[in-house]
Symmetry: none
Subunit: 205 residues, 4 copies
DNA sequence: GATGAATGAGGGTTCATTCAT
DNA sequence: TATGAATGAACCCTCATTCAT
């Protein structure tokens, strides 16, 4: 999506990252349409025009930011999930926990994803948003595996389940970004969300 | 929120409604920021300036549209839920079903609510969005009642549960608005979503 | 070419004309690319945005100005030529004289036509520039008539002759706009140009 | 006009020429204002910044290109005219022919000269454009000589005549560059133009 | 009340030019 | 000398809002 990758030196990748961070800050604070390119440039400490060396236009900056951050999240999720000892339910629990943790650690990112992803859903549909598909696939994979090994009720459509779980989780994260929440409460919420979702799909006795 | 409360009755209320419908169509199709006031005026068959007799500005039009439509949805929900024979679980099931039904009957409204509500979340926070609170209160009320009568597990925070349920439901409705879905599949989804959510919170044996 | 003809009242046609005059002044002084839309607006005493109610964009303003002024010139030429007593040579002489006269009376217009018409030739080709065709047709018509009645040598291609005559005339008018020239000298030049061009195509004995 | 006169000889002069050729191609294709310096650099296979080692700025590049190409044309004209056997009329005829020939051989140059010279006339006036004066002087010289030896009518102002002849010729060359024309037609046009112009100024019998 | 022509602030983007390497 | 990434001033155009009719 990026127009121009000036050489491949570190200085430049750093500049690209600074721009993405400036965009993240601006989009999180004001939303895509109210964020000015010149503010992003200020934040990134580059000239306005420099942004256009790394991104085609403001839209591309949005898309690229999504892809960049989703990729980071996906890597992080895959890494953390691979380290989980225990069954499939533990991994789902970890999946949920990790989201709360990431949201607490990166409030701007949480705000950006929860607020802009939805708004940009249609916008992004045109670009197909493969990264979001990759992301959901992780969750769908967990559900599928749980259904195969009898942990989860296999009368559910795993894609529907993963979408719904994402929706529930996302809504909680939105609440988190929009209100002050103390740490204890955050873990209590994580526990409740994963318990509720898991019990919803557990294979009945 | 609206600036002008037309005194001379139905003729004006009709004009106000035409403007809101034009806004709904425009916002659903293009999103709030890409919808032009002049397009809304065209759609409503009024002059651009007329919109400012009924609404303070474009923001107010968005807020008013939310409030108007949420009020309509709330009334509809309350009416339909009041007619449900059976227990609390049946009412939750009906709550979910009704959403799918409304989304199918009013695709523009579904698109508007699912896409713009989120995006406007922060924007709307400033205005506090009491209607959304009223809406969620219906669901929270159902959960509370179920917890009191022992149908639902009362170790869950009912507000968290209702938010999560809304999130799950909303995500499914978004999927519905963004892809073609046949009627059979819609009811299958409604069934799965309500089953999953209910089992998640049922008082376990 | 113009986008919007707001009603048809005189006030509006006047505004459109003021914009065209502002454009003429700006284009003549600075050339198309160096003239700023905001300067044209200033000159016309309208807001920047008003220009876009009457013209699609800056290009359209250029095209429209050409068409408007060429039409005016064509009408003027046709009217004046129709009043000429005498033969075809007198009408050609009058054609040339009139150009010098118009250039003296409307130096901005002369500058605009001589400088921008050429530069915009290719640009205007895309829009086909029918008015320039109409203009040249007047001259071609004179040549044709002179050839038919034996005044002019009919071994010349009348279209080539009229283009060449236009080129010669246009070059002289350019010189006129770029240097100070006193009135006596202007008429001397007009006389020389028409004499030279006429003798060039007279049927020889 | 050029900032830098490369000291180390041919390698640099070659680079300067490549830049001028790139500029010619770009200006001919898109016009001065729409041609980008970076495109010229691409065409010349040099870096953008390199252009500024050889030319002060984009304006200087335009001026320098004019001067370079006009000098070339002048040399070519003087050489060819010096080889003409025959009288002054033959040399004028050759002058015209040669223009058509050069235009056919160098369409980009023809386009550049016919389209941009005029547009840049005022722009160039500021720099005085001595080369164009030199060029016209050739033609004026021919006219003067013809007037002195009685071939041409000496009641004409030779500078006016040469300007008009240039204008006529230039207009024909413009037509040539803007439309497809086959070789036969080109020579027919050359013949007609020179015949017309010569007869126009021949000393009457 | 209703109109819609007019307004003008605002912002995304371009591109000639610079300068550190 | 040569490079080309970076700069940032400049500008066309949009569109929410106003107000004379």
């Amino acid at each position: 999506m990026s127009q121009h990758d000036p050489t491949s030196g570190e200085g430049n990748e750093d500049k690209r990252q600074r721009i993405l961070e400036g965009a993240l800050a601006a989009f999180a604070e004001k939303g895509f349409y109210n964020a000015k390119v010149s503010e992003i440039a200020d934040e990134a400490e580059v000239a306005d025009g420099t942004i256009y060396l790394y991104f085609e236009n403001k839209d591309d900056l949005l898309i690229s930011l999504f892809e960049d951050r989703m990729e980071w999240i996906i890597n992080r999720l895959e890494h953390e999930l691979s380290e989980v000892q225990g069954g499939i339910a533990d991994r789902v629990r970890r999946f949920v926990e990790l989201h709360f943790q990431l949201a607490v650690e990166n409030p701007e990112l949480a705000e950006f994803i929860t607020v802009e992803l939805r708004q940009s859903a249609k916008f992004i549909k045109e670009y197909d948003n493969p990264k979001f598909g990759d992301y959901l696939a992780i969750l769908t994979g967990l559900i599928d595996e749980g259904q195969r090994n009898g942990t989860f009720d296999d009368t559910f459509d795993s894609r529907l389940v993963s979408r719904s779980m994402f929706g529930a989780l996302d809504e909680e994260l939105l609440e988190l970004t929009l209100t002050e929440t103390d740490a204890n409460d955050v873990s209590r919420r994580a526990e409740q969300v994963s318990r509720m979702l898991l019990e919803g799909i557990m294979a009945g006795d």
